[in-house]
Amino acid sequence: MAQAVVETKDLTKVYGENFTAVNKLNLRIEEGEVFGFLGANGAGKTTTLLMLLGLTEPTSGEVSVWGLDPTRHPVDVKRIVGYLPERVGFYEDMSAAQNLAYTADLNGIRASVAAPKIKGLLETVGLGHVIDQPVSTYSRGMKQRLGLADIWLKEPKLAFLDEPTTGIDPNGIDDVLALISSMAKKGITIIFCSHVLPQVQRICSRVGILSKGVLVADGPIGSLGRDSERYRMEAEVDNATTAVVDAVKAIAGVEDVELMDRTLIVTASSDLRGQVSRAIIDSGALLLGMRIEEFNLERIYKRFSKEAQ
């Protein structure tokens, strides 16, 4: 078993009197993982990250990051962790290179060592041509890439990325996701917070779903689906009558049939498209089209969110 780089035990954060942002979170993230941390806005993702960084004190429970307690040793933890906050900001009147030079200075990297590294990193993230322009001229996507360079600069063992793709265009998203993947290839363990499921699906090896502060699901994307496997077929039917519904319902394995306008929604325990189409035609209706909904994260996510409520 690989080494756990992040481990929490019954981690809880209560704001004020009765707002529980994070509730008894048990999380274990291993070295080299790309962990997708999913949840709607306000589900407690950022609060968890802030506790992992030692910026917010947990109300109760234990946290360990690389064997360190972030509340007791915040500086040691921050030395090995790169944090990209949501809507990251930079000093607008300074250039990208100057902003990174400041980060290097704060991390105790000597200027002579930092300068060539900064240049190389900015090339890597595709900002080589605007290296000396003030950050105020950058687009949102450029700033996010600069943010990635900013945490890459300190060569962290762990990177916490909080909604790194918010507010950027599709091309920009591709760039950012590609960069995150290449960071992961360099051996950096990544926690990727997002509420955008396809992105998480693209780069994460494992996901945890947080809903109202509770971790409702945790595991590899594949295994999350398997135990909940429900096949959902949609058939477009002309002249649909209740007879059609009854005929489909009679098929063994069909659990539920719903008729909405011209669409028949069939939920079953296995792929029954053949039987369903025959039943529809045999009952005198016209089958115009049929498709099976592929298993995806969206569904898992919706299901778990619903269950938690």
Binding site: R79, V88, F90, Y91, G108, G147
Partner: protein, 311 residues
């Protein structure tokens, strides 16, 4: 912390804000020295001592002295250096990034405060040196050792006074989310102390100890003492008293009654030695330092305890 200090200092020195402020202070210094040089011959006699430091306090007809300009501008400079220290970082999204770097949280506020202090020092020392140098060149009377010490004490007090206003502005920048609010709040406090408190102090003193032309000297003295005590609530008054006593050796007392008597008798006392002048304003100096420490202390604690919220 030195990383924050270096960055803030270079930010300040290269900012337009600093250039504007420095031009303002520089021009007022030029103006004041011009007035002082025009009028200094009329205020000194062959027996006058400490001519050199008179350059800083001499005013023309209806025209203010260098000291007045400085007492006007130091708070503005202090506020300008501090009012957006923390909330600007927060609004621009830099604060959480800064906090995730391997530095202690107090390094941020300490580094910023020290950088502001360094800028204030550069500005005040620079301006005093410019005025002193020009004065020396034009008037031609070199300062003696005591005058130099007095000037150094004056620079020190000015620095602490500027630091107080900066600490106040930093305090507001920790408490208020918007930079415009924190700047207005700091300016409001300054305007209140600089302009209104004197009027209020006078009004309150007159209400408690009414005086008119027939009042006894005792009543007049009571009235004046009360007014002074009230106006000493203002750091502006404390600074004014301190600098006047430091730069005018003839001022024998900051006590209103004594001043009243010396004004009535038509003469100021003999010049006091340096130690006595210092002793005279020691309480004022300590008060300014304490005010500065309190403001900085509150903002420090508040900043350290503040939780970085996600929303």
């Amino acid at each position: 912390m030195y990383a924050v200090f270096r960055k803030e200092l270079s930010d300040h020195l290269s900012s337009k804000r600093f250039i504007i402020l420095f031009m303002l202070v520089f021009l007022s210094a030029m103006f004041a020295i011009y007035i002082a040089i025009q009028t200094i011959r009329s205020v000194v006699s062959p027996t006058t001592e400490a001519i050199f430091i008179r350059l800083f306090t001499t005013s023309g007809d209806n025209l203010p002295s260098f000291l007045f300009f400085l007492s006007l501008f130091i708070p503005i400079v202090g506020i300008a250096l501090g009012f957006d220290a923390i909330n600007n970082e927060r609004n621009s999204g830099n604060l959480s990034r800064l906090m995730s770097q391997p530095i202690y949280r107090d390094s941020v506020i300490n580094g910023k405060f020290l950088a502001g202090l360094a800028v204030l020092a550069i500005m005040i020392v620079g301006v005093v040196l410019i005025v002193g140098g020009l004065g020396l060149r034009i008037v031609g009377v070199p300062p003696n050792g005591e005058e130099i010490v007095r000037l150094m004490a004056f620079v020190f007090v000015s620095l602490v006074y500027g630091a107080f206003w900066m600490a106040l502005a930093v305090l507001f920048s920790v408490f208020f989310k918007r930079t415009a609010t924190s700047m207005l709040a700091s300016l409001a406090v300054w305007i209140f102390f600089f302009f209104f408190l004197a009027v209020i102090a006078g009004g309150v003193a007159d209400a408690i100890v009414p005086v008119d032309s027939n009042s006894s000297v005792a009543a007049l003295a009571n009235n004046a003492t009360l007014e002074t005590s009230l106006s000493r609530l203002s750091p502006c008054t404390l600074y004014g008293e301190t600098t006047i006593a430091l730069l005018t050796p003839e001022v024998g007392s900051t006590n209103a009654t004594m001043l009243l008597i010396s004004t009535y008798s038509g003469r100021l006392g003999n010049p006091l030695p340096l130690e006595s002048s210092l002793l005279l304003v020691w309480p004022q100096i300590v008060s300014i330092i304490a005010l500065c420490a309190v403001c900085f202390g509150i903002s420090y604690i508040r900043f350290m305890r503040e939780e970085i919220r996600s929303i």
